[in-house]
């Protein structure tokens, strides 16, 4: 690797020419990115700034947010007992869902990635993606029917005497979340596992590692980029999940997503909702950066 680097430097005899070429190259690259930049700034960054600004607004008697008498009431409310409970509960739900997705998704991704024929792997990956072809809300309602009193899953539970009606309970929420986010775990894991050079595992076996040891010491560390990416892709949306807890949990156990929606709806407390949204966004951003850094270092 170092050899090639040295060679490239040798070729670059005229630093001025080299710089000019690089500048032109980067300018051209930027032009291609302009549409995406414009779109993201107008529809993503600006709205977020609006949310952030509104977190300092005051409320009129009717609950209308007013920017004239700005204050930090929305932010001070973040320390409320209620907020803490909901945040803790949501973190627990998101973390447990991530772990469940990881355990189930890893095995599945490993199985797909180790199929010998490329066509088999492609078909299995398409099967993972098929649920996305229909609307998430529709699919969640389908779950609602399955879990309701006369639903098949409930009937099966009653038949075996193992469970009853699960709709509007926490297990129902977990079922929905697991179902919804499993593909987001499988795909990056598959990408990481598929890239693993299997001769490394063979080398491990050759060096006296049992199958389990070789997995723990070689396969697992080498799939770490996939674990990191998959966990982020599952954890973050699980933390802010709104549709699933609302439809399958019956809004009985309030999670962050539902709580924020309530602030903008029934509670008519936009400043508090905005502050909560902004705070979560910032914390998650920081956590993600740290997590990615720790994952990127391994290989």
């Amino acid at each position: 690797m170092t050899l090639t680097d040295e060679r490239t430097e040798e070729v670059a005899v005229n630093p001025r020419l080299e710089r000019a070429a690089r500048r032109r190259e980067s300018w051209r690259g930027f032009l291609h990115a302009v549409p995406a930049y414009v779109y993201l700034i107008v529809f993503f960054v600006l709205p977020l700034i609006v949310v952030f600004v509104f977190s300092f607004a005051s409320r009129s008697r009717t609950g209308r947010p007013e920017l004239e008498n700005w204050n930090v009431d929305g932010w001070t409310r973040l320390t409320d007992e209620l907020v803490r409970t909901i945040v803790t509960r949501s973190l627990f739900v998101a973390a447990l869902n991530t772990v469940l997705c990881l355990i189930i998704g890893y095995q599945f991704a490993y199985w797909i990635a180790t199929r010998r024929k490329q066509s088999t792997r492609t078909i299995l990956l398409i099967l993972v993606l098929i649920p996305f072809w229909s609307n998430f809300l529709v699919r969640t309602y389908a779950w609602r029917m399955l879990l309701d009193s006369d639903g098949y899953i409930t009937q099966l539970g009653e038949l075996t005497g193992l469970w009853g009606r699960t709709l509007f309970t926490l297990p129902a929420v977990f079922l929905g979340l697991l179902y919804g986010y499993l593909p987001f775990m499988v795909l990056p894991l598959y990408a990481a596992i598929e890239r693993i050079d299997w001769s490394l595992v063979e080398a491990g076996r050759d060096l006296y590692a049992s199958g389990t040891k070789a997995f723990m010491k070689i396969t697992l560390p080498l799939s770490r980029p996939g674990i990191v990416a998959g966990s982020i892709l599952v954890f973050i949306p699980s933390l802010g999940a709104y549709v699933t807890p609302d439809i399958l949990g019956g809004a009985k156990t309030t999670l962050l997503g539902n709580f924020i929606v309530t602030q903008f709806g029934a509670a008519r407390n936009w400043p508090f909702g905005s502050a909560l949204s902004s705070a979560i966004l910032m914390v998650m951003l920081l956590a993600t950066i740290l997590y990615f850094r720790s994952g990127a270092r391994t290989v």
Binding site: T2, D197, S199, E202, A203, D206, L207, Y208, K213, I218
Partner: protein
Amino acid sequence: MSIDGAPAVGLHGVTKKFGVDVVAVDDMGLEIRDGEFFSLLGPSGCGKTTTLRMIAGLEFPTDGSIQIFGDEMGLRPPNKRPVNTVFQSYALFPHMNVEQNVGFGLRMKGVDRSEEKQRVNEAIDLVRLSGLNTRRPGALSGGQQQRVALARALVNQPKVLLLDEPLGALDLKLRQTMQLELKDIQADVGITFIYVTHDQEEALTMSDRIGVMNEGKLVQVGVSEEIYESPANLFVASFVGDMSFLPAEVVEPGSVRLAGGEIVRAKTDSNPGTSVTLALRPEKLHLFANASEAPPDRNALSGTVTRRTFYGESLYYEVAVGASGSFDVRVENLPVMRRWEVGDEVVVDFHPDSTTALAE
């Protein structure tokens, strides 16, 4: 549990099939002696790597048995065999540094920390990588990675070291240096080496014995000289070194007739009338201006120079002898040697003992 006097590795009727009709290794029988540097030589796809992988336990034979020092291997997994492998791609663990890579086997075996550290350092010294202990493989050159792979295998003091084209990815100069080093290391540690290569020169220079493989079959086993001087068949002759091949027919024992009618004295004891291929090494042929200059009681055939190739230390002449075919002649690039031009009439001279008559 090894049996005294048993060969380091014994293969008996070993066959490996992939799927129904792909026979990678076909009924292979071979005994490799303790302390020997044994090379498996053959073109890609000849089954040499599969054979090595079966000894390592990374593949299992479809039929036959493999013993290591008399110990039946059967379906024993690789981690329970007293062999280690140097992989073609090195297969160094990218997430571990040099020290951790080299120490991996010892850690898996449960060798205690202080002994591990000592043996790892010894192995790193042996392959002359001291000071690079904490480097990751990605920060090493190809030659250094190769040494790490070697140290990682040797540190476990295996009974047999398996090497799968370990020098294939290195450039020529480095490969030659590493060939000598490998040979020295082998002499040093006294472990049996089984070396898989498609490079005939590498096999000839390094090995105590060579096994030549083709299409899943072991076609000849012998020391370098035997393989080179008396190839068992046309395949070995054409795969190992350069040779000119001429169709011929046995006239009587010790004499053959070429396609153009010339009678040539050759090493053969086949029955008269048998079709053979006369094989000749370019360096064993000599060129003279006419038959009277050539030494008597040998073979002298008149021909025309049709091509001249300059190799630096030598020149190769292609000489066409009528309807019999062409001979490649190697001439040392010495000041005393006469230079020939394309179109020159010459006499090709060779000793009967320098010929090989290969039956079809």
